[in-house]
Amino acid sequence: MTRLRIFAPLLLCLLLAPVQAQVQTEEQTSGDPVIEERLARLSHDLRCLQCQNQTLADSPAGLAADLRREIREQMKAGKSDKEIIAFLQARYGDFILYRPQVKPVTYLLWFGPFVLLLTGLLVLFSYIKRRRDAIPEKPLTAEERRRAQELLQ
């Protein structure tokens, strides 16, 4: 029991230590729930340039935090989502968009899969049709018809 009394505070310290560390790195939020909500929505569609397979919302990287701060400030200044995206795109290029825009360079990306699907279906249908045509339609003879009748009964 006394041993537990000594260890309990130590254990508590150990448990709290990581929390302490986390609090220190937490970024400053704007305090405005509307802006935070908009930021959350917008940053899910933006890429973190440092860890490229993460969105700006998920990324713990320093640059991502800076960009979130930048977005917050611009939202406070009354910029629309479109203006903010244009701002980021001008600096970091299309790559910052997680959802590529539909424009001539991305046509292949957006419509390529459907073109492939369509081609596949056409090939499939023509194949089926060719096979069907290849099987000669031969009417049964009277003898065959009688045997089939027998088997069915």
Partner: protein
């Protein structure tokens, strides 16, 4: 015969595309700011905090903007080559999200090849330049237009193939 050649052809095309993909580094992105005016800024200088530096101060000169930080490992690798490049073209450092004390210690330890370094404490100027990692180096021409962006250390090979010819050409203009 053709029915065997078509899949083989498709396979070869796929292989070629994948092989090209392997040689490319997905971390290097084309700069959106290429051939655009270099964003203006005014920042305190690292060695003389009372003085400021603006990109406009370099009008009429071809210069390099080199984004560095004392916490950046690749910057250390690159740093040894910079004095050689500084003989050809002025290099302005952008000390990116660094502790000024650490930055000064870094320069006194490794030498200071920079004409001067500007302090971008919170990374705002870096955002304007589309910086996403250090080191990054920009070539800016006499008219203040960004002509080249290089992400990663400017090794002697990169210098002699990408930077030197461009700097020489821009200086002639």
């Amino acid at each position: 015969m053709l029915r065997y050649l078509i899949p083989l052809g498709l396979f070869l095309i796929l292989t070629i595309f994948l092989a090209i993909g392997l040689t490319r580094d997905p971390h290097t992105l084309p700069s959106a700011l290429l051939d655009k005016p270099a964003p203006t800024f005014r920042l305190a200088q690292l060695k003389e905090p009372s003085k400021t530096f603006s990109a406009d101060d370099m009008r009429g000169k071809v210069w390099l903007l080199n984004v560095w930080a004392s916490w950046c490992v690749a910057c250390r690798e690159e740093h040894q080559f910079l004095p050689e490049y500084a003989k050809v073209v002025p290099i302005i450092g952008l000390n990116y999200k660094d502790n000024p004390e650490d930055a000064l210690a870094w320069l006194s330890e490794l030498g200071d090849p920079y004409t001067l370094s500007a302090v971008d404490l919170d990374g705002r100027v870096a955002i304007d330049y589309g910086v996403y990692g250090a080191p990054e180096t920009y070539v800016i021409d006499k008219g203040g237009t960004i002509r080249l962006k290089h992400v990663g250390p400017v090794t002697p090979a990169v210098w002699s193939t990408k930077f030197l010819p461009l700097v020489q050409e821009l200086n002639r203009k």
